[in-house]
């Protein structure tokens, strides 16, 4: 269980095995949330569809691109770490975090404008689920930013031990999960009619 480094010619999964206990568990739960949402939606399709059309789809699209770009930056970070290009790794990690912060800022703007338009979480079931699901995702974004700040500190180290490399990979995988979940959420909340 404790050995992390594997010979290069063998297939290996990124991060520690345990990371995936957490990641798959998290995915499973979001899956349960999505199913709950679809069940509630099937009970009042008209209400849900009318409410869906009041969302800011432009911000949704931009946020999707923001997170995808952020994921790309983390891929660059990891490649740079492996190639021992520390300054590039640091810059790419900082860029990934900046995009993460931009996502939060846009999300908060969206919440405020929805609230101001009378579409708060109490308005109807769609908005309740919208705020809970995106709020839970936003919480994950915040956790992810914590993980990325760890990655940022590691890019400044001259040498990474196997355990540290695995932790950096695990943090990157978590950030990809946050991205993946958002793509599902975006499709489910903004697009499916």
């Amino acid at each position: 269980m404790r050995a992390i480094a594997a010979p290069a010619h063998q297939k290996r999964i990124p991060g520690e095995g345990g990371t995936w206990v957490f990641l798959f568990g998290d995915m499973l739960v979001f899956g349960a949330f999505f199913v709950t949402f679809l069940v509630e939606r099937s009970k009042a399709p008209d209400v849900f569809d009318a409410a869906r059309s009041t969302l800011h789809i432009g911000i949704g699209v931009i946020n999707t691109l923001v997170l995808l770009t952020s994921s790309l930056c983390i891929v660059l970070t990891l490649n740079a770490v492996r190639a021992a290009q520390r300054p590039l790794a640091t810059r790419a990690a900082a860029a990934a975090m900046a995009f993460g912060l931009l996502f939060i800022a846009l999300k908060v703007y969206e919440y405020i404008s929805l609230g101001a338009a009378g579409h708060g979480p109490g308005a109807n079931d769609f908005y309740l689920y919208y705020f809970i699901l995106t709020g839970l995702h936003l919480f994950h974004v915040c956790l992810g930013l914590g993980a990325l700040s760890f990655v940022l500190t590691q890019t400044r180290r001259p040498e990474l031990s196997d355990t540290r490399t695995a932790l950096v990979e695990g943090a990157a995988c978590f950030w990809h999960l946050v991205d993946l979940l958002w793509i599902f959420l975006f499709a489910l909340l903004y697009l499916v009619s």
Binding site: E16, G18, V21, F22, V29, I132, L136, F139
Partner: protein, 250 residues
């Protein structure tokens, strides 16, 4: 010379007995949740939970109709909840083994674990009071007692999250041989902590998925608590057995 080795042998035996007691403690967690769940869900029939959106009359009618079963269920839950005490003691001692002394992790775990048993015990008394003479008082009073039970029962989840986080840190810094916690158990604890979190806002919602009968506040935190207890028992048993094997003369 012979005297010294006899003392040494006696100390070894004491250590082995202690580890056997820890194994019993590890089992207690799993046994506790099975008995507690059976009392609460089976005997008292509080599964699925009563809806927070029900009218006072509906709540009172449930208590009048089921009052004897609820009292039996509460008694069973009160008795089985205390089985968590040896379980938590074993858990704290395992964390202490990681630290090698009483440090931040074992002490934080101790403080959080102190609340674990009261969190299971004390709300049951409100349920007991609600079922004690439900036909002799106004329905709103029974509803209020029922509210206190559920909000307390679900909303106190924060101390379990602290337990999870200390365990996660303990699993990540563990250097003991044989190992006390596998690293995947650390990640499992992070997962349980994340999923238990929605329970904290249970007082905010009167209905919906975050209310006390909702999927995010009741079913998922409840499920991960059971998963956590089962896997904690398994993880502790494995490491205690390995420690016992290492102690026994070849």
């Amino acid at each position: 010379m012979a005297k010294v080795s006899k003392q040494h042998c006696a100390r070894g035996n004491v250590r082995l007995v202690e580890l056997t007691l820890q194994r019993i403690g590890a089992w207690c967690g799993t046994v506790m949740i099975l008995l507690y769940g059976a009392s609460f869900s089976g005997i008292a029939q509080l599964f699925p939970p009563l809806s927070p959106a029900s009218s006072p009359d509906e709540i009172a009618a449930f208590f009048v109709e089921h009052k004897l079963w609820i009292r039996f269920g509460v008694s069973g839950a009160l008795l089985s909840a205390v089985l968590a005490l040896p379980f938590l003691a074993a858990l704290i001692l395992r964390i202490r083994r990681v630290e090698g002394r009483w440090g931040m992790l074992s002490m934080t775990q101790l403080m959080a674990a102190t609340v674990f048993v009261p969190a299971l015990l004390f709300p049951q008394f409100f349920l007991g009071v609600a079922a004690y003479r439900p036909e002799e008082r106004s329905a709103e009073l029974t509803q209020a007692l029922n509210d206190v039970f559920w909000l307390w029962f679900i909303g106190i989840v924060g101390t379990i999250i602290i337990q999870n986080l200390t365990l996660a840190v303990a699993a990540f810094v563990d250097q003991t041989d044989p190992p006390t916690f596998p690293r995947w158990y650390g990640y499992l604890n992070l997962w349980v902590a994340t999923l238990s979190l929605p329970g904290c806002v249970v007082v905010v919602f009167n209905d919906g998925p975050l209310a006390w009968d909702g999927i995010f506040a009741f079913y998922i935190p409840g499920l991960v608590l059971v998963v956590w207890l089962f896997s904690t028992t398994a993880v502790m048993l494995k490491s205690i057995k390995a420690e016992q094997r290492a102690l026994q003369p070849a």
